[in-house]
Amino acid sequence: MTSTDISNQPSLLRRLISGDAQQKLLAFASLVLLLIGFSIASPNFMQVSNIIAILQASSVNGVLAIAATLVIITGGIDLSVGTMMTFCAVIAGVVLTYAGLPLPFGILAAILAGAFCGLCSGTLVAKLKIPPFIATLGMMLILKGLSLVISGTRPIYFNETAGFDLISRGSIIGYFFPSLPIPNGVLILFLVAISVSYILSRTVLGRYCFALGSNEESVRLSGVNTDRWKMAIYALSGAIVGIGGLLIASRLNSAQPALGLGYELEAIAAVVIGGTSLSGGRGTILGTLIGALIMAVLINGLRILSVAQEWQTVVTGVIIILAVYADMMRRRKSG
């Protein structure tokens, strides 16, 4: 490193403090701030059972937000996560309840269905060059309609499949540590987060994810088959949505074909609150996770305080803006 001279040393130190580590620390700080605020405001807030409830409430949105993060880092956007989740749940229902196959098939089917839907969106975006907003808007409508068609506009119950509801509601952790009854849904959220985090930071797929969002044309001109990678990323994102579909189906012990619309905005909001840029090229899963938790804490806290629902909405809007503003300020300061 001949070109690194003495003047760089403070910068290395500063990078350590002001870099990613600090960023996440601070996003985390605004989450902690919320937690402290609500704890003071209501004695009922800081109970183990309520914290677990918050974690569980964030599990579906968190998984969807992680899926959306992948697509957003490539510079795209995914409006279909909500109805795709429903579609995957319905597919699981068809496989398990209608066809009566055993549990693993249902799990596989949901994840594959998601991957396939993601691949479709990815093909529309990469091959047909349809803007991601439109491609996923179209997919959102198509999947909404197909969920209704396939399910016969009826919820599909999983009463026949023993153990299906344990996917989200059971607690492996609680089995081993009875004082910590963290539901599997939350465990799955964290496992998904860790895996995707690893993929993003350590694998080729992750590298291309960032590179595509940063400057797709330069990646293409580097001889990379950008279309194929983009499709792969969308498919991976879809598979994660499939996991989200399993989580919600397990929690409701049924596939509700009408559900899902509006979940996409919530997922994207979590992503952006977590510091991922909608213009692509930047983002972290840890941020997204914190974003999803901030939203879950906020809504739970306001409900526990029995704030009138119309005011809950107003306060949520204000706090989302404030959270992102705080993040902006900090980043501008740290360069």
Binding site: M1, S3, S7, P10, R207, F210, A211, G223
Partner: protein, 502 residues
């Protein structure tokens, strides 16, 4: 300006720099890549705030908090990196913020286009003011940028590498404009890495190195070699081309009948193993288009590409790279770099499969290692191999793109304006590198708008005009700039035989 200090995270960009400009003088600012030239000028024009130091304009101390303030005070700048609005027309770009109006905010589009036309006419530039800037070639965009700066009628005009994208003809036009401004008593700060321009245009030269100023000397009285020595800190010895004997060689790349619309008309040529084929031509001659068509970046109407005698079907850059062809684009910001990512990621971008395990895991340690190797080899000035590329100076960014293709190690390499914005010392290094690559048996195409560069590196010289190949000349001392210019301005098709022998 005196005692100017500026620090960026990890970089002490300016250390106690002083600089003065007289009215009506052309003052050249020279220095290696990353010496701090652009940064100094950005402070003068209000883009950056200085950490300390004094800026005086007409003896009065000034601080420009924003570009608008500098403009109002009569300081105009042409930035090194193009900063145009691609969706707007040339005229709209030039007059942004100062549009002629009727009242009630209504625009007088006629007046706007007329005034832009007048400026273009005064620059002897043939350009429709109603064309969207995004559709123009990079050279023309640069001309629009110059027109924009001229339209401000500044008393101090900063030109940060205005000729990096220009051809000799446009450079001549620019110099005419500079002379005229000089007569109008405008002070001009001129940054360039082209040494010949220094002698032609400037009155005094200030040399910077590593964020400090070395000296200010008289341009006419000081030999170029002295200036280079001051810039680089040592003397440079440049050698002539040595043309290897490739008559026995095997053709590495053969292009036949390449055609696309009016941009490329029936272009055919051959590059041997171990040969450097230079491509000369005027702006818009279609050299870049040919390179992109070969590389699969653009579709083509007709034509065949043969690699090592075998016809290859190249539909996309991925195919081209798989066939062993690499292409370094002339527009690094748009096509060469992911500027938001770090140096490592960019250097490895074309070669990731070599650093990936079967499971898709990246070998970061190995990537870091080779990146640091190229940072050393190409002397890229950066605090670390994980610096974001957008924070590097222009020339150092260019070196990152070069490193990317060197790492990829293609058999056939197309370099489109490889030394754009690169300082003289590094240029010499790159020439050596090209020679070394050729000696290793690679086939190389160098597209350059600098005739001296073409003459310096090429073993043979292909010349294009208006989308056609108008001739192929031998390299070395036998060919003159005049001979190239003759072919570059030729308008009819080259004969079949010429194309065949090529």
């Amino acid at each position: 300006m005196s005692g100017i200090e500026k620090r960026f995270p990890g970089v002490h960009a300016l250390k106690n720099v002083s600089f003065n400009l007289r009215a009506g003088e052309v003052h050249a600012l020279m220095g290696e890549n990353g010496a701090g030239k652009s940064t100094l000028m950005k402070i003068l024009s209000g883009v950056y705030l200085r950490d300390s130091g004094v800026v005086r304009l007409d003896g009065k101390e000034v601080t420009f908090a924003e570009p608008k303030k500098a403009q109002d005070a009569g300081v105009g700048i042409i930035h090194q990196e193009l900063s145009l609005m691609n969706d707007l027309t040339a005229a709209q770009n030039i007059f942004i913020g100062r549009e002629p109006r009727f009242g009630f905010g209504r625009l007088d589009e006629k007046a706007l286009n007329r005034q832009a036309s007048e400026i273009f006419a005064s620059m002897n530039l043939d350009l429709d003011p109603r064309v969207c800037v995004g559709e123009l070639s990079i050279a023309r965009q640069q001309m629009v940028e110059i027109a924009k700066a001229l339209s401000y009628r500044s008393r101090v005009l900063i030109m940060d590498e205005p000729t990096a994208a220009l051809n000799d003809t446009e450079i001549d036009e620019l110099f005419v404009i500079i002379r005229r401004l000089q007569k109008e008593n405008v002070g001009i700060i001129y940054i360039s890495h082209k040494m010949d321009e220094l002698k032609r245009i400037s009155d005094r030269v200030t040399i910077m190195r590593d964020g400090e100023n070395v000296d200010t000397v008289d341009a006419k009285a000081t030999p170029v070699s002295d200036i280079i020595a001051m810039m680089v800190g040592r003397a440079l010895i440049d050698s002539d081309v040595e043309i290897p004997d490739t008559s026995e060689g095997t053709p590495a790349l053969e292009v036949r009948g390449l055609t696309r619309g009016r941009e490329i008309v029936d272009v055919g040529f051959t590059v041997q193993k171990g040969e450097i084929l230079g491509f000369a031509g005027l702006m818009g001659a279609g050299r870049t288009e040919v390179a992109r068509a070969i590389f699969g970046a653009d579709p083509r109407d007709a034509g065949e590409v043969l690699v090592h005698g075998k016809s290859v079907d190249i539909q996309s850059p991925a195919d081209a790279v798989a066939s062993g062809i690499g292409y370094l684009s002339e527009d690094r910001k748009h096509f060469g770099l992911a500027i938001g990512m770090d140096i490592r990621a960019n250097v490895a971008m074309a070669s990731l499969e070599n650093y990936t395990s079967k499971m898709g895991k990246l070998d970061e340690a190995a990537i870091g290692l080779v990146t640091r190797e190229y940072i050393d080899k190409l002397d890229i000035r950066t605090p670390s191999d994980q610096q974001e590329v957008r924070l590097l100076s222009g020339g150092n960014q260019q070196k990152v793109v070069i490193a990317k293709w060197l790492l990829r190690d293609c058999e056939i390499l197309i370099f489109d304006e490889p030394t754009r914005g690169i300082d003289i010392g590094a240029k010499a290094e790159i020439y050596k590198l090209l020679n070394r690559l050729a000696a290793q048996g690679r086939a190389i195409i160098v597209i350059s708008s600098e005739l001296p560069e073409i003459l310096r590196v090429s073993h043979r010289i292909a010349v294009m005009s208006e989308g056609r190949l108008t001739g192929i000349l031998p390299g070395g001392a036998n060919t003159t700039q005049e001979a190239i210019m003759h072919l570059a301005t030729k308008r009819e098709t080259v004969s079949e035989s010429l194309g065949a022998t090529a």
